[in-house]
């Protein structure tokens, strides 16, 4: 519970300004599984994952205490299992499905070796962070927003509105109040994935932890050396009270045996024992009765082969062909090559949570299966703020590098280009000079716009005007037609964001490879 509050606190602190005394991605960095697969897939040791190493001595000494006491997904599942207790007749038996998590772990590690990393699908800390950041937080926001909106409709209630408004901003760290609550593409799919995990509680307690969680599997395997185990004394009367209360069905053999790898050290069983014979003690003192592992050799081999086959499938991307980048995948600053980014990104959504403009959005299928739930900048939703470098600071896996502001400001995310058939000064010029209207069109201030030029944050501006004198000869009648100075443009997307046209902007950003943002030779 304490750790869950810490998790929530850190999640809410993942906002501008970053002032939490503890590093916000700390809990995410506990994931030994993500650390392992991201490092394997990227073929580098991601040193920032050092907190994950703490899990090794912890588990070797105390077993799966992480699962029982620390993991925020575990706590959430406990809460939802409790809420669903009336609908669940009994904690149903998973049987052989218990071994699934080991097969999954094996398959995912092999896939990572072959370069496909799927922490986003199976890492509990990634799932829980993403779900709270991209689904729960916006929902809570909506609730607060409702109070504020309601209060501002009645003059006497305005102080309440002011209070709720400032509370929601200070405490709940809502980041994009000018437009509306933070919104994320594909929120509903992320919500569904989360709800399916929770809904399993209708039949099974801790379903995720028992059957699927690869981090749980990893810790389970390590816990075999843990000296601290559940032991049952000879005076056990096999009343099965402990078996019934055990959330992970770690108790078997009429209450006498323990599947240590399943035991999450929740310590719920000793208090229910009517004869007080359950103890958690060092195994030298009392010989605990151990039940066999569920995984079979055949299953493990099959899963490893499966992982090797899955890797290339996960990695297929239509735009992988040489020299043809995916134009919509504008990555946050600063990432390495797409390959490296996909290997490192654990899809936790921290960068999208912290993005001050709400511009970082989860990729759905536009980048192929491999890029699912990775962040991309959607300039129409929000731009990359020039004075902001938060995403790199909260990324747990260094997929986005933390850069000092000065360096971040030089990272090129993409390049802007004008759509002259939509851009007001260009289109107005066309209208004004089209043959049918040659003599009818009078000068109008409405020919000029240039909101994009105004907002360009690059010192010296990447958007400039070519001045086109209107044909009536009046020196004040000049159409300022904007163009992009490609060598200056950093692709932050504020021009696309602020373009006043409804629908697609007249100036749009196309992604470039951040590691080689040089202009194509085509431009000479």
């Amino acid at each position: 519970m304490l750790f869950f509050l810490l998790f929530l606190y850190l999640l809410l602190s993942t906002a501008d300004p970053l002032h939490a005394p503890i590093h916000v991605p700390l809990i995410l960095r506990f994931s030994l599984f993500a650390a392992l697969t991201a490092s394997l897939a990227a073929k580098t040791l991601i040193l920032q994952y050092w907190p994950a190493l703490l899990l090794i001595p912890l588990t070797l000494l105390l077993g799966r205490v992480f699962c029982g006491w620390i993991c925020p997904l575990g706590t959430t599942i406990d809460a939802s299992d409790w809420a669903l207790r009336k609908f669940r007749k009994r904690n149903a038996d998973l049987g052989k499905a218990r071994a699934l998590k080991y097969y999954l772990l094996g398959a995912l590690i092999i896939a990572a070796v072959f370069g496909a990393q799927a922490a986003g699908w199976f890492d509990p800390l990634s799932i829980v962070t993403r779900s709270y950041a991209l689904v729960v937080h916006p929902v809570v926001y909506a609730a607060f927003d409702g109070i504020v909106g309601f209060s501002y409709r009645f003059a006497p209630l305005e102080p309440l509105g002011d209070f709720a408004s400032s509370a929601s901003r200070r405490v709940l760290s809502f980041q994009n109040p000018i437009t509306e609550q933070p919104a994320f593409i594909g929120q509903i799919l992320i919500a569904l994935m989360f709800l399916v995990i929770l809904a399993a509680g209708l039949r099974y307690r801790r379903f995720w932890c028992r059957s699927l969680c690869p981090l749980g599997a990893l810790l389970g395997l390590m816990s075999r050396w843990s000296p601290l185990r559940r032991a049952v004394g000879d005076d056990c009367i096999s009343c099965l009270k402990c078996e019934n209360i055990c959330p992970t069905q770690a108790i078997t053999g009429e209450g006498k045996k323990t599947r240590s790898r399943e035991c999450i050290m929740c310590m719920d069983c000793p208090p229910v024992c009517p004869v007080n014979t359950i103890t958690f003690a060092r195994k030298e003192q009392r010989r605990p009765a151990e039940a066999p592992v569920d995984a079979t050799r055949r299953g493990v081999i099959a899963s490893l082969i499966g992982g090797a086959i899955a890797a290339p499938i996960l990695r297929i991307r239509f735009w992988q062909r040489k020299g043809k980048g995916n134009p919509v995948l504008i990555r946050p600053p600063a990432v390495g090559t797409e390959e490296e980014f996909l290997a490192k990104c654990v899809r936790c959504g921290e960068c999208m949570k912290v993005c001050i403009t709400n511009g970082l959005q989860p990729v759905m299928l536009e980048g192929g299966l491999a890029a699912l739930m990775t962040p991309r900048l959607v300039p129409r939703a929000g731009y990359c703020a020039y004075e902001c470098n938060l995403c790199g600071q909260v990324c747990p896996s260094q997929a986005i590098r933390p850069l000092p502001l000065k360096e971040k400001q030089e990272v090129v995310l993409g390049k802007a280009f004008f759509d002259r058939s939509r851009c007001i000064p260009w289109a107005a010029y066309n209208t004004a000079s089209s043959p049918g209207k040659q003599h009818g069109v009078q000068w109008s201030d409405a020919f000029n716009c240039a909101v994009c030029e105004e907002h360009c944050p690059v010192p010296g501006k990447a958007i400039h005007f070519s001045r086109y004198p209107f044909r009536d000869g009046d020196p004040q009648h000049v159409i300022n037609r904007p163009y992009v100075r490609l060598e200056e443009c950093i692709g932050c997307g504020i021009c696309e964001n602020k373009c006043p046209l409804p629908g697609p902007a007249a100036v749009r950003v196309t992604a470039v490879d951040q590691t080689s943002p040089d202009l194509p030779q085509l431009y000479g």
Binding site: D16, G149, Q175, I178, A446, E453, E454, P459, F465, P500
Partner: protein, 306 residues
């Protein structure tokens, strides 16, 4: 008899609340004192002299006491639109805002509110501009402009804009002070006090840019401004209104104070070597009777501080 529905109830309450606020008919604020100049320009060398400069300039046009009375609520709208530092000159100097807040407080103002509807993220902008901290320290209430605190106003004289949502706190304050910084601007040529007023406009302001001159004049014709305090310490001559480079700024060392926004803007235009009537919205605002381009006719007091 219509059914009593929640919607109707809410509407009724909202209408009653709006009606309770006396509409302010006077758009052009009168001079603070009839026998004193309408425009004061304080010349300074350092930002630290701003407080002194502002006080003396205000005294020259009639004194803060003629504007702010005991127990009143003052709203200050500085140009605090860009996530830029004070040295970059895209926003008003924090020292000047702080000085204005202190003077209002000193004159007995009950509450001084400071706000702007920022262009970049508001938290970052409020912080980086230095204005949030400076104004708070001086005793102001610095708040975020919530989208629901905007109220539609009619623009009876408007030629292009007929109505627009405006920030409530700006409309409802007893005294409204506009604090722009003088900058070059791509579309409107210069960002001065009348352009700065866009910061209390709600809605999709990007739409203003085509025909911006008439829209600015229209908008100004419906908003009462009691005082303009313009920061022309460093004026931004290139790459406005966001700038970013020291080269974009030019030192002028002036603080311009007046009640006639057209006159203040007209004088400021001369700092950029422009004539007032070459700036579309200044000319149109003068045509609409919002103020005068002939700032010299109001009397100009030049004060040298330090």
């Amino acid at each position: 008899m219509q059914e009593f529905t929640r919607r109707r109830f809410l509407k009724g309450v909202a209408t009653a609340a709006a009606g309770a606020l006396i509409p302010r008919a006077l758009i052009t604020a009168p001079a603070l004192a009839a026998d004193q100049p309408g425009l004061a320009i304080a010349h300074i060398k350092e930002r630290s002299q701003m407080k002194e400069a502002l006080r003396r300039a205000l005294d020259a046009i009639g004194g803060i006491g003629a504007l702010v009375r005991k127990g009143q609520t003052v709203a200050i709208k500085p140009n605090m639109a860009w996530a830029r530092t004070p040295e970059q000159g895209a926003n008003v100097s924090p020292q000047l805002v702080a000085a204005m807040v202190e003077l209002c407080k000193g004159a007995g103002a009950k509450k001084v509110k400071v706000f702007d509807r920022t262009i970049n993220d508001w938290r970052m902008t409020y912080r980086l501009s230095g204005i949030q901290d400076a104004a708070k320290e001086a005793g102001a209430e610095v708040s975020f402009t919530d989208d629901r605190k905007f109220r539609d106003i009619k623009i009876p004289k408007g030629k292009v804009l007929k109505s627009w949502p405006v920030y409530r706190d700006a409309l409802d304050a007893d005294v409204f002070i506009n604090m722009p910084v003088a900058k070059q601007h791509g579309t409107s040529v210069l960002t001065l006090s009348m352009k700065n007023l866009m910061g209390i406009a709600g809605g999709e302001r990007g739409n203003w840019h085509p025909e911006i001159h008439q829209k600015l004049a229209d908008f100004n014709s419906a908003i009462r401004v009691d005082l303009v305090v313009m920061d022309a310490f460093n004026i931004m001559v290139t790459n406005g209104p966001a700038g970013g480079r020291p080269d974009d700024l030019k030192f002028k060392g002036q603080i311009i104070v007046g009640t006639d926004r057209v006159a203040v803007d007209s004088y400021a235009a001369t700092l950029f070597d422009r004539t007032p009537d070459s700036i579309g919205y200044i000319r149109r605002a003068a045509d609409m009777g919002i103020g005068t381009m002939d700032f010299e006719s109001l009397g100009v007091d030049n004060i040298t501080v330090g």
